[in-house]
């Protein structure tokens, strides 16, 4: 029933600049009913900008926006207008009030009244109906702060549906979800498309695109560079269109296993870490990382991986156990002393822990190494500048401009800065890497993986915590699986190459694997 003319959302020649940077350059896009339409591209390619223009959050500098065939004057466009015409958007960062209930969040801004009083019973019923119809289970009366991340996302989607929408735009919806939740969300989105909605999915995860989207629009540097059919193209084809060159989706590596006779660098014995409430986040955990070995740490989020890494760095107190680096006990040392002793840390939360966003790149590269750059007359800016230029070039950071503000960089380039810094510590012997490629574009992922493998080649021991199983399988010599704060099992060497390795890890992650 869809002809070429019934695009519910049509953009033609849309441009938008931020200062001197052209984020969107005369972009054309047509979204039709009944399809999942993926908008892919590297970080900074202009995907989110384009959708925020379509949603009316950002004003276009030029071009036409049509909703259901009707031209919307640029200066009159707004989210309110978009919602009125059936366009809804779910942002990457949720916009919910944690202390309010699900239904209160949904009606916020357009509260229905009955006899002058707030009517929550009506919407709650409507929400239950929508939940049932689309498989978006969530209790309307629950408070948002008690919900998991996946449930919060469902609330965001329900809010858009409740407002009534024909076009649902989702910005990187899977970035925060566990694999099982991703599958579930995709089922929901496919159902929505089948029921006649248009779904626009902003993503840079190619397997997702191939799994779900019938139409794929590829953006690069603010322009649409390709339109593909997601059902027939391969991930490699999309990757090439996104980056503009061949990309290795899986980096080359040597045989698995630590080099023979490698010394033990990091030894953790009987480590116990408690959460704020006194429950154990990590209990009686022991592990060993040898020189030149990458030890993967798998697990569903919330099973203690974050707490383990933070306790190893010294950001979180340990309740019991010992941590030693090349025979030296670290338990009683502060973060700074542990870094000096040879730990490196690529934190999970890049924005809050990895970088000072308002510092320049060179200042960020000096973080944790400030002592090295201080001479008799304070910070040696010249030496720092020389080192920064070298690291930025080696780390393939763009722009390789020591005075650029870290905030202005894309996520991938920010992460490259963190990696470059942690790998550059002269004393670094063990690198703790937490989710090093989360929210990072594929060009940067390749570079980060190469950096981790290069460190391994130099004899650095790496503990790699990741929610990305393919990443763990590609890089690790051994993979430990954490479940409820303990190591539930491990896969090593050939086991990781055996067919079904991912499934085996999956079983261990859900506690179904039993002890090995």
């Amino acid at each position: 029933m869809s002809t070429t003319d019934d695009a519910v959302l049509a953009l033609s020649g849309v441009s938008r600049a931020f200062g001197a940077v052209l984020a969107n350059d005369r972009v054309d896009l047509r979204v039709t009913r009944g399809h999942v339409h993926a908008l892919v591209g590297e970080n900074g390619a202009g995907k989110s900008t384009l959708m925020r223009v379509a949603y009316g959050e950002l004003r276009a500098d030029g071009g036409e926006i049509r909703l259901k065939g009707e031209l919307i004057p640029r200066e009159r466009h707004s989210p309110r207008e978009a919602i009125r015409r059936g366009v809804g958007m779910v942002h990457q960062h949720f916009m919910l009030v944690p202390t309010l209930s699900v239904v209160e969040n949904v009606v916020l801004g357009r509260e229905p009244l009955r006899r002058g009083l707030l009517d929550l019973a009506g919407p709650a019923g409507a929400l239950r109906e929508l939940s049932r119809r689309f498989g978006l289970e969530v209790e309307p009366r629950a408070r948002v702060e008690e919900l998991s991340v996946g449930e919060r996302q469902r609330v965001e989607i329900l809010r858009v549906l409740w407002q009534g929408c024909d076009v649902l735009i989702l910005d990187e919806p899977t970035a925060v979800l566990a694999p099982a939740e991703v599958r579930r969300l995709f089922g929901v989105l496919a159902d929505m498309a089948a029921s006649g909605l248009a779904v626009v999915l902003i993503t840079h995860k190619l397997d997702e695109v191939c799994a779900l989207a019938e139409r794929v629009t590829v953006m690069r540097q603010g322009r649409v560079v390709d339109e593909l059919d997601g059902r027939v193209v391969s991930a490699a084809t999309i990757a090439r269109a996104m980056v503009g060159r061949e990309v290795l989706l899986r980096v080359e590596r040597g045989p698995r296993g630590a080099p023979p006779g490698a010394a033990t660098l990091l030894r953790v014995d009987g480590l116990r870490v408690t959460r704020g409430e006194g429950t154990d986040a990590v209990s009686d955990l022991s592990l060993v990382v040898k020189a030149g070995e990458i030890v993967g740490l798998a697990g569903v989020e919330g099973n203690g991986q974050r707490e383990l890494v933070e306790a190893l760095v010294g950001l979180r107190p340990q309740a019991a156990g010992s941590i030693s680096l090349a025979g030296r006990e670290l338990s009683r040392l502060g973060v700074g002393e542990r870094l000096a002793a040879g730990l490196g840390h690529v934190p999970e939360d890049r924005l809050a822990r990895g970088l000072v966003l308002d510092f320049s790149l060179e200042e960020n590269l000096a973080l944790g190494r400030q002592g090295e750059f201080c001479g008799w007359f304070g910070l040696d800016r010249r030496r720092l500048r020389v080192e920064a230029i070298r690291l930025l070039a080696e780390g393939d950071v763009r722009p390789a401009e020591p005075l650029a503000c870290a905030r202005a960089l894309s996520g991938g380039n920010q992460q490259k800065v963190v990696m470059a810094r942690e790998l550059s510590r002269p004393a670094a012997r063990v690198l703790l890497c937490a989710q090093p490629t989360r929210g990072v574009d594929i060009g940067a992922i390749e570079h980060i993986h190469r950096g981790i493998l290069a460190a391994r080649g130099r004899g650095v021991g790496v503990l790699l915590a990741s929610a990305d199983l393919p990443e763990l399988l590609a890089l690790s010599d051994r993979v430990l699986v954490m479940f409820k704060g303990r190591v539930a099992g491990q896969l090593a060497g050939a086991e990781l190459d055996a067919p079904g390795a991912a499934e085996r890890l999956g079983e261990l992650m859900t506690g179904a694997g039993g002890a090995t």
Binding site: V21, G336, G354, V356, D358, F359, G368, G378, A408
Partner: protein
């Protein structure tokens, strides 16, 4: 990268001064005077002769100290509303130590001692909210405000013991503990102004070059990232508040050591709060703080001279408009520059 922000700051200040002058002109016209005449008199009485210059420097000196105090704490992510109390105790300490020295104490010994006393008293008073923040997470805004009241009460309470009978001031400090005047036509300007400039240079060096200053800025912008880089965040808070308190405590030099030679109840009152405005006007940068303090010092002294023509409250209006305009126009420029990226 560095040129653009400087131009922007200049633009902010230019816009603010112009709008303040415009608002002031309207007010002057409404009072039936000529704006050109009033502004001319204001300028002549301040920067027109060496006495005027001296008085401006004298009035600017405490503002430089308190402006630096607020700015330094701010760079560490803390809001020091307590300069008022810190400067009171700094002044009292300088006066008490200065008065208790033997009469013939040489300046080389006495001066460092009294200056140190002022800084130390301020530092202790500043460190208290720093420790409360670091150990218990108590917000420094509330605590610095409360400590202002405590400081005032402490001065009165101690005054009972240390003030000269029937007065509200202490005994004179010994000759050796006095800061010489700058010799500007009998104005009150004294060596404290130079001391304030030295303090500004030291704060600049600390923030831009020193290792601890680098760490302090990291803590101010992102405590999480600073902690991850091995910086001791809580210790940095305490150190920043103590240093801020010391800077405010040095205000005592200007009045006690350089002008009256005794501490008097109410001395320097208001300079602590004006320090917040100075730090805002100076955009948290030591050079900006010095310039902002000179501007407000000029208005403060110029107000006396134009009082014959228009009420001296005119300068309060000018001050207020400048501060409002700086706050508003810098926010507007931030918005206009937009968030780069997506």
């Amino acid at each position: 990268m560095t040129r653009a922000p400087v131009m922007r700051e200049a633009l902010v200040l230019g816009i603010s001064l112009l709008s303040a002058m415009a608002a002031g002109s309207l007010l002057i016209l409404a009072l039936g005077e000529s704006p050109a005449h009033v502004y001319g008199l204001l300028l002549r009485s301040t920067w027109g002769d060496s006495y005027g210059v001296g008085q401006v420097l004298f009035k600017s000196t405490p503002l430089i100290f308190t402006g630096l105090s607020v700015a330094l704490a701010f760079r560490a992510g803390l809001f020091n509303i307590g300069a008022e109390g810190q400067l009171m105790l700094g002044g009292l300490a300088a006066a008490l130590v200065g008065a208790s020295l033997p009469a013939g104490a040489p300046a080389a010994l006495a001066l460092p001692l009294v200056v140190l006393a002022a800084a130390l008293a301020g530092a202790v008073w500043g460190a208290i909210p720093g420790v409360l923040r670091a150990c218990f997470g108590a917000h420094e805004v509330i605590n610095t405000i409360m400590l202002n009241f405590l400081a005032a009460a402490l001065v009165l309470g101690l005054g009972h013991e240390v003030f000269l009978p029937e007065t509200t001031h202490t005994a004179l400090v010994v000759e050796g503990a006095r800061l010489p005047a700058l010799g500007l036509a009998g104005s009150a300007a004294n060596l404290s102004f130079i001391l304030a400039l030295v303090a500004a240079a030291a704060v600049w060096f600390y923030l831009a070059r020193a290792r601890r200053g680098f760490e302090l800025r990291a803590v101010g912008l992102s405590p999480g990232a600073a902690e991850n880089a091995g910086v001791r965040v809580r210790a940095t808070w305490v150190a920043a508040m103590a240093t801020a308190g010391a800077l405010a405590g040095l205000v005592g030099c200007n009045f006690v050591l350089g002008y009256k030679h005794y501490f008097e109840e109410g001395m320097g009152r208001g300079a602590g709060f004006m320090g917040i405005a100075v730090a805002l006007l100076g955009r948290g940068h030591p050079l900006g703080v010095v310039l902002a303090a000179l501007l407000l010092g000029t208005l403060s002294h110029g107000g006396m001279a134009v009082n014959a023509l228009v009420p001296k409250e005119l300068v309060d209006v000018l001050q207020a408009v400048i501060i409002l305009a700086v706050a508003a126009s810098s926010a507007a420029l931030d918005r206009g520059a937009g968030r780069a990226g997506q």
